[in-house]
């Protein structure tokens, strides 16, 4: 197995597959999931490829399956997930599957059509029933009022028409029907306008919703009855009804007829109901039978489709008997690929073996890192910045530790860290279960995929919390402080509000307040109660940030050494790595050295030589070093070792010399080469037998660079140099964010404690209990939401930035492309099973 340090060695291979064996071979390779195929006919349209008909057949099958699935969902029949993983069926089985699905679809469509007709019938009868029932009300009402309502209209019309002839034409006609409820208001309005108010409309709601036979949705409808006079109005009213898609039903005029009709309708309804039930039962049986195989079929069809898509990438050879494909595969897994091919050939029954042949290539191979569930998340962090160039040093294995660590430096609180650790541990322990649940929320997915990162972040936060001595902003005196306040309790201590402990370790026994060894782990808890806690921790954390930052950058530069060695770029080694290392060391590593020196050789004694008040101010020293200016005025600016002046001047000059060292050689080399060879030579490369790809790649790279032109090289190199030199300064300053965020976190949690929780702790008695109960949830919620989630996210982002920009810029190119293996894994997981169906 390859390590994470470099990506896998890849090999471009050519596949010669017999036409009849190609399908099963590709199928086997898909199950294996270790090769990435290249498209050999990029200029050919999708629909002009060889296996487009097969793809289309698969599409068609998929459509049928979707149809089945939709029907199942509508009837609430669960799809059985057997969890097994069927192999892609052989091409000759495709016909069976097709026929099977075809049969099922047709059957279902037929049943559906029947059911729809029945449903429509049923709907019509129900509507008629409702009409008969409701209109009964209208008519009865009319009769009860002795025709007051109806007759009043009749009377009116009689009155109007009285001048004319009184004839049989005065009879009122009426139309009864059913209309969708939402269309009632415009219907009424239009009726009024079109008939000029000469139609009388009565309407009631049908209480229970009816089922639309086509869609199966529930719709609410209204029964209406319209009275009017004359044939012209009748056609007009009918047109309007038609326009609003109202269904009209014949309604007899006398009550006896209506009753008779109602009885008839009821019996037919009953009959229809039993028929409908039977149809539904039949449909359910069909669907239930289909539900068992559905998921399997889905997997099979999608595998087939994937295989044909892959085969569309292949070339046909001249004899048309053989398919030629090209693929990238990891060098170490070629055996497995061979084996899969042999299996595929055997399965297809072909006598001619499939051939896998290594090919040389000048193309950059894809980058393939073998990850497991632990390293996956960290690799993703690196890949999000840029996929590593082929075989360059992968920062992921270092990120594995440095990322959570830098996060923890900013998030340093053992309490918060512990909570985070618990949460991540829960996710890790319940991993399988949580994965099976397939929670779709994007946020959850992100967090869950980063569970191991969070786990490490939590663990490291506990560690840094211990070092900072911070537990929910409180310090714990675990090992006993090394400071002892030896004041007379009655005198000095009572009379003054603040007291200063004597920092001198060499003072006599009565005055010595600091003795013994320093606090064994982290910061002495005494600092938590001191007034100058912040200035102490600032000084500590600032220096620590610089040291961490410089060491990480230095490490980055060292990693670039491995890149140069790997690509046998001696020029790069001498003109990039060495001056970079020197530049960084001369200024920043020296600064770190001074930090350690200051920490170790000064203490609290009032002595001139080792006393803290005359300890060198590093900032001033650094500035003076660059300005070549040395003064004795404040004692902190004095030189503190002999020869400091000369040594520092030497360092600065060396650093300055590094700049042209980085800037000049490469353009110079390009210039000389151009001069030497006025026209491009046609001399072929010496074919070395053991020439590895890296060397070949490097030479290809050089070839490319030659074509780049001199001016490009100069600009390129200038940018690189300036970037590095300025980068060293700005990146070092950038690492101060470690201190800043850590300070912010500590202060915020302290504020939360004093402003919120202490209110609860300050009271006594029953009131205190009540207060505590009231205040604790607030404190807890704020702790989790603000301190852990918000601060955590911000620390995460800053850690991310420190890795992407400050660390990786020192060595990482990230110009590769990812290895995407042809694999059935995605089909197997069916993660997007539901999404796919919805589309």
């Amino acid at each position: 197995m390859g390590s994470l340090f470099r990506s896998e060695k890849m090999q471009l291979c050519q596949l010669f597959l017999q036409a009849e064996a190609a399908y099963s071979c590709v199928s086997e390779l898909g199950e294996l999931g270790l090769v990435q195929f290249r498209d050999l006919n990029p200029d050919v349209n999708v629909f002009q490829r060889k296996f487009v008909n097969e793809v289309r057949r698969c599409d068609e099958m998929e459509r049928k399956l979707r149809f089945l699935d939709k029907e199942m969902r509508r009837r609430n029949i669960p799809v059985v997930d057997t969890g097994d993983d069927p192999e892609a069926p052989l091409p000759r089985e495709m016909v069976d599957l097709e026929a099977n699905l075809e049969k099922m679809e047709n059957e279902l469509r037929e049943v559906n059509a029947n059911a729809e007709a029945l449903n429509r019938n049923y709907l019509e009868l129900t509507e008629l029933k409702q009409i008969l029932r409701k209109t009964q009300g209208f008519f009865e009402e009319a009769e009860m009022h002795h025709g007051s309502l109806e007759h009043s209209t009749v009377d009116d019309s009689l009155g109007l028409l009285e001048e004319g002839s009184r004839g049989p034409s005065l009879r009122l006609g009426f139309v009864a029907g059913v209309l969708l409820r939402e269309r009632v208001p415009p219907f009424e309005r239009l009726l009024w306008r079109a008939c000029r108010g000469n139609a009388f409309l009565r309407m009631t709601d049908i209480e229970e919703p009816l089922e639309d036979p086509q869609t199966g949705d529930k719709v609410s409808k209204n029964v209406f009855i319209i009275f009017f006079q004359g044939d012209q109005l009748k056609t007009r009213v009918k047109k309007i009804c038609e326009g609003f898609r109202a269904t009209l039903y014949p309604c007899p005029e006398t009550q006896a007829e209506r009753r008779e009709m109602a009885v008839g309708v009821m019996t037919r309804l009953d009959e229809l109901k039993t028929v409908l039930e039977r149809t539904n039962e039949h449909r359910n049986r069909v669907l239930l039978a289909a539900s068992k195989g559905l998921k399997n079929w889905f997997i099979k069809v999608r595998k087939m489709k994937a295989i044909y898509h892959t085969m569309n990438l292949f070339n046909l050879d001249v004899t048309q008997k053989c398919l030629i494909g090209e693929c990238w595969a990891p060098d170490s897994d070629l055996d497995k690929v061979h084996l899969a091919l042999r299996r595929g050939t055997e399965m297809s029954g072909s006598s001619v073996p499939s051939i896998l042949q290594k090919m040389g290539s000048h193309q950059q191979p894809p980058t393939y890192h073998r990850t497991n569930k632990f390293t996956e998340g960290f690799q993703a962090i690196v890949d999000a910045y840029g996929v590593a160039s082929y075989r360059e040093v992968n920062p992921a294995p270092f990120t594995l530790i440095s990322f959570p660590f830098l996060f923890a430096v900013m998030f340093g609180d053992a309490g918060h860290g512990f909570l985070m650790l618990l949460f991540a541990a829960w996710m890790v322990v319940r991993e399988r279960h949580l994965k099976a649940n397939r929670i779709d929320s994007e946020i959850w997915q992100t967090i869950f995929n980063g569970r191991y990162i969070i786990l490490l972040m939590g663990a490291f936060s506990v560690y840094t919390g211990l070092l900072y001595n911070d537990f929910f902003s409180k310090s714990a005196n675990l090992f006993g402080s090394s400071w002892h306040a030896k004041f007379e309790v009655d005198g000095y201590l009572k009379s003054s509000k603040f007291v200063q402990l004597n920092p001198d370790p060499h003072a006599n026994a009565t005055l010595r307040m600091y003795e013994g060894n320093p606090y064994p782990v982290g910061v002495d808890p005494i600092w938590a109660v001191s007034v100058n806690k912040i200035s102490f921790s600032n000084s500590l954390k600032m220096k620590m940030s610089i040291i961490l930052g410089v060491s990480q950058m230095l490490f980055g530069v060292v990693l670039s050494l491995f890149n140069h060695l790997h690509s046998r770029d001696r020029m790069g080694l001498l003109t990039e790595f060495v001056p970079q290392l020197l530049f960084l060391s001369c200024i920043f590593v020296y600064l770190c050295g001074m930090v350690f020196f200051k920490w170790l050789s000064f203490d609290g004694s009032p002595d001139e030589a080792t006393g803290a008040h005359c300890a060198p101010s590093l900032l001033i020293h650094l500035i003076n070093m660059c300005m070549f200016k040395y003064s004795d005025d404040p004692c902190s600016a004095k030189t503190f070792y002999s020869g400091q002046k000369g040594f520092q001047t030497f360092l600065i000059l060396l650093a300055v010399a590094c700049v042209p060292w980085m800037l000049v050689p490469r353009p110079l080399q390009a210039y000389l080469r151009e001069k030497k060879r006025p026209w491009p030579s046609s001399m072929p490369h010496e074919a070395e037998e053991d020439e590895s790809d890296e060397a070949r790649l490097a030479s290809a790279h050089e070839d490319a660079e030659e074509h780049e032109g001199l001016s490009d090289v100069i600009v390129h190199q200038a940018i690189h140099t300036i970037e590095f030199v300025l980068g060293c300064v700005s990146h070092t300053a950038s690492y101060l964010r470690l201190w800043a965020l850590s300070l912010a976190h500590a202060q915020l949690s302290e504020v939360l404690w004093t402003m919120v929780f202490r209110n609860g702790l300050g009271q006594s008695g029953a009131f205190g209990i009540v207060m505590l109960v009231a205040v604790f949830p607030m404190w807890a919620v704020l702790t989790v939401s603000v301190l852990m989630i918000m601060e955590g996210l911000s620390a995460f982002l800053h850690a991310l930035r420190l890795h992407w920009v400050e660390f990786q810029s020192k060595f990482y190119k990230g110009q590769g492309h990812k290895f995407v293996a042809f694999s059935f894994q995605a089909i197997r997981d069916m993660k997007n099973f539901d999404n796919m169906l919805d589309s």
Binding site: N45, V46, F47, Q48, V52, V55, R56, D59, E60, E62, R63, R66, F67, R183, P186, R189, L190, R193, A194, R236, K239, I240, E242, G243, F244, R245, S839
Partner: protein, 348 residues
């Protein structure tokens, strides 16, 4: 309506519509589509564009009408999405886009009923963007006055219709007059609405609408030759918000033949080129196509500026053109009539 505050209400939708716009088929897509042998090939290629799986649930063999329906359905669902998320004044603006489809639908339905077609045959032919509640009851009316009083009075088109009430009965000629009067009133109203909104919207939209108005004036004039439409009546149909107003329109009103129309166009830089390139010989582009091309150009230009409503109008029009193109190509593919397959109008 300045760039400072546009994004408060319109930013999301503008972003959406610009996203939609980038899904419009490119020249290479058309080149591929033209090569298709069957409609299934077409479907396969459209799958690799932004149309995605919009035909995936249609059993093969496909027919052109299914493709047409689905294209429309997609356009309408996009429009509905925009409309549902919009607030004033954008929602009114989007409604205005709808009105032109409503006018077309009304005219289609009236003409259909005039030819004794049943209403249920006609409804599927109506553009879904222009459907309204009372639409299907339109055949109740037999005179324009009735049409207005019974059906249209509740629709937003009512004010445009006022000028048509005086017409006596519905025959072919009158329907055309009604359509053009409605369009004229609509365009003028839309034009003044955009002017009121002001800013970049006015800039972008007035340009497009002015062209639309002038195009109608030209086409009305050309189509009126040899009909019984009097010159006075014709002049009444010209929308008065284009660049031709007022001089060009009065010249057009006097025109008797195609040459004279051409003369009028000579005076206007933008239109001269359109008339110059157009011809009726085989191989030439028709004037109509030229107009379409120019329209596409104007609509594409609308996307050059930000913070205005013109993009919504332009998108709908471009998409409509794209639907026409796809339908044209599918029609050619389905009928195996490849000679004219290239006369689609590419957008980008």
């Amino acid at each position: 309506m300045d760039s400072l505050s546009f994004n408060i209400n319109g930013g999301y939708l503008e972003g959406i519509v610009r996203g939609f716009k980038s899904g419009i088929l490119k020249r290479t897509d058309y080149l591929n589509l033209v090569q298709c042998e069957t409609l299934d090939d077409l479907k396969l290629h459209l799958q690799s564009t932004d149309y995605g799986n919009f035909l995936a649930n249609e059993p093969s063999p496909l027919s052109v009408s299914v493709i047409d329906d689905k294209l429309r359905e997609k356009l309408v669902s996009e429009f509905e999405y925009l409309r549902n998320h919009s607030v004033e004044p954008l929602s009114t603006f989007l409604d205005y886009i709808r009105y032109s489809y409503m006018i077309d639908n009304i005219v289609l339905l009236i003409t259909g009923t005039l030819h004794q077609r049943h209403i249920s045959e006609l409804i599927p032919k109506c553009h879904p963007l222009g459907s309204f509640e009372q639409m299907e009851a339109i055949h109740v009316a037999s005179t324009p006055a009735e049409l207005y009083n019974a059906v249209l009075v509740d629709t937003p088109l009512a004010p445009y219709f006022i000028d048509c009430i005086s017409e006596h009965d519905l025959d072919e000629m009158n329907i055309e007059i009604i359509r053009n009067t409605l369009y004229k009133a609509y365009l003028e109203d839309f034009h003044s609405f955009c002017k009121n909104i002001g800013g970049t919207t006015a800039e972008a939209m007035c340009e497009i609408l002015a062209f639309e108005a002038d195009r109608r004036a030209f086409i009305i004039t050309i189509n009126s030759f040899g009909t019984e439409l009097s010159k006075d009546d014709r002049a009444k149909l010209y929308p008065r918000c284009g660049k031709l107003f007022p001089d060009g329109l009065s010249q057009l009103a006097r025109a008797d033949e195609y040459e004279q129309v051409r003369q009028v166009a000579e005076n206007y830089g933008g239109y001269r080129t359109l008339f110059e390139g157009a011809g009726t010989n085989p191989g030439d582009k028709t004037l109509e196509d030229k107009f379409f091309e120019h329209e596409v150009k104007l609509n594409v230009n609308a996307f050059m500026q930000q913070f205005h409503f013109g993009v919504f109008y332009a998108y709908i029009k471009l998409k409509e053109q794209e639907c026409r193109n796809i339908v044209w190509i599918s029609e050619c593919v389905a009928q195996r009539h490849r000679a004219k397959i290239d006369s689609y109008i590419p957008i980008f």
